[in-house]
Amino acid sequence: MNRHRSTAAILSALFMGLGQWYNRQFIKGLILFAVEAAALAYFIPNFGRAVWGVVTLGEKTQGFEKVGRVMVRVEGDHSIFLLISGLITIFLFAIFLVFYISNIRDAYQTGKLRETGVKPAGFRQTWEHVMDQKFPHLMLTIPAIGVLFLTIMPIVFMVMLAFTNYASPDHIPPNKLVDWVGFQTFANLLTLKTWSHTFIGVFTWTIIWAVIATVTTYFGGILVALLIESKGVRFKKLWRTIFIIPYAIPQLISLLVMRNLFNGQFGPINQYLGYFGLDRLPWLTDPFWAKVTVILVNMWVGIPVSMVLILGVLTAIPKDLYEAADVDGATGFQKFKIITIPFILFSTAPILIMQFAGNINNFNVIFLLTNGDPVKGDYQFAGSTDLLVTWLYKLTLNNSQFNMASAIGIIIFLIVASFSIWNYRRSRSFKEEDMIQ
């Protein structure tokens, strides 16, 4: 009785593929061997520097050094490049570790099988096994790699930035180094007068905006849907198609067009107000009216979506509910109050909450319509209609306040996440209750 399993596992731990060779799985062994060889060739020169880079964020500032008699410019460390390439290397290393461990496990399992007298699988059989049993893993590999490097890595990077002092004017590479500062950024955001004033102002407006925007589009949608579906109204399909048009026009276009429609000087809206003998309104230039404008325009953009959803819900209401109500002699209004409204509210409640969370992050409407303007003097880099997200955008791209931006990003995440989790739990409990079936 050979102790195949431990021999194979130890061999594979020494160098990937050896255990597979020992188990006479030559092609598999060769592939694994090549993987480790490539990994070693990459990690030996890079891994140490990667860890050093992430931990220290660079030590040498760019500057001039005396070489002999002349001053020579010396390139310093670029903290941000060090951080990102360090992260990439560490992520790659994590992937390699997964490979390495499953390689040992595989050698161990095959060795165990051999002990019971089973002949190890050939390469063909292994391939078939993968296609059959490991199909979901195979299908998820490519998307997973993409998400890992294009979503997770960037998010980890940005979260880390919140704990550095990466901001203009004093800490912008390559001239200067960036350092870890712990929770200093969050402390500044909440305690420094200039920042906290802006933060509280923008935060309050974000919440007010999200509530009003959600409520108006939702009830607007219900109203329009009920109008279309009400008894006696003809051309239902035509109305629906017309009302879907705002949804069908790309927001990029419709919002830029709206910006011109509401133009204070030459825009047609003010022109029509003039025909009725009314005063022109400062739609986009006055802090209060700018807020009204974004909410109005958001209704135009958002009502069609709610309408479509609610039309769908309306068709799903069982007809026998109404018939039963008819038998009991209910009036139209009673039927509406007791059947239609509860049904709509009940089946769209989760969407309502998701729309609320979405409106907190509604970048397009604000950015394209007002760009956060009109400017507010006592705000740090923000205007009267700026939401947290648009402020984050401005801080990142226009003002290079990267650490503040990512601190705000984390706060937005916490708000949205708590709503979504609460919503998820609630809708779960709804499903289990089976109130409507």
Binding site: T151, I155, I249, L256, A405
Partner: protein, 281 residues
């Protein structure tokens, strides 16, 4: 009594129609206005009447002939990027969501939770990191980069697709498996034909996503001949909006038309997609 009811009904109906017409005017007016503006001679935003006295196609011609725009060029770029994104993200999303919906394997719950959590971060929080990442891969100012980022991002929004596959009875694929079909065969021969509405929904949303994105495209595409329509449009707005409004209008119409037509014609699928996303909460 009966007459009274009839008149009340008629009043109610007239009232309903009046409101419907008012909403219809609001819904259509901006589109109509920009369309008519694009056909108006001159460059001004201000116009005394909605319908211009005479029509001209000069602004459309200018978009394609003026040396400072490369509208034709941008149109081709955008079509290319949007098509490739559509193909890749549809394949990636359907395959991976099929796997997540149909198979029970270790870590499945974790993957779903991770997807949910990642979707809650504001998207462009990751812009800077992606920018530097692309810089290191030497992919800046290329269309490959855009297709790559859009397709990889689309997978995270795949919950709707997963929800759709959850509703298809398992007995279908089990029967095919017993007959000896491989997983890939089951997917291609049985699932794909059934998921036509969902495929249309995913393809349509990823196509439009790539068609109108200007935030990320502006960051990545540096040289003017590589721009997409949305980036060009953004540039047009920031530099010409007030001085040459009619040109902007013409550009806007050309960008909006393909998307709007697709949406109106594929309405049915869109509604289905929205609904199945909704019922999953």
């Amino acid at each position: 009594m009966k007459m009274g009811r009839k008149t009340a009904n008629a009043v109610r109906l007239t009232f309903s129609y009046l409101i419907l017409i008012a909403i219809a005017v609001c819904a259509v007016y901006p589109a109509l206005w920009v369309l008519l503006s694009s056909l108006r001679p001159g460059t001004a935003l201000f116009s005394p009447t909605l319908i211009p006295d005479q029509f001209t196609l000069a602004h459309y011609k200018e978009l394609f002939t003026s040396p400072s725009f490369r509208y034709g060029n941008w149109y081709v770029n955008t079509l290319k990027i949007a098509m490739l994104t559509m193909i890749f993200s549809t394949i990636l999303t359907t395959l991976s969501m099929y796997a997540l919906s149909r198979f029970r394997f270790r870590g499945r719950k974790n993957i779903l939770t991770t997807m949910l959590v990642l979707g809650m971060f504001p998207g462009f929080m990751s812009m800077i990191a992606i920018f530097i990442f692309l810089l290191q891969l030497n992919l800046l100012d290329t269309h490959t980069a855009l297709v790559l980022v859009y397709s990889a991002g689309s997978v995270l929004g795949g919950f709707v697709v997963k929800g759709f596959y959850d509703t298809i009875p398992r007995s279908l694929d089990e029967a095919a498996r017993i007959d000896g079909a491989s997983h890939l065969q089951v997917f291609i021969k049985i699932m794909l034909p059934l998921s036509r509405p969902m495929l249309t929904y995913v393809a349509l949303t990823s196509f439009t996503g790539a068609w109108v994105d200007f935030i990320f495209a502006r960051l990545v595409l540096r040289s003017k001949e590589n721009w997409t329509l949305a980036v060009g449009m953004w540039d047009l707005v920031s530099s010409y909006q007030n001085s040459n409004f009619t040109l902007f209008a013409a550009g806007a119409v050309l960008i909006a038309i393909p998307i709007t037509l697709l949406f109106v014609f594929l309405q049915r699928f869109l509604v289905q997609g929205l609904m199945s996303g909704a019922s999953k909460g």
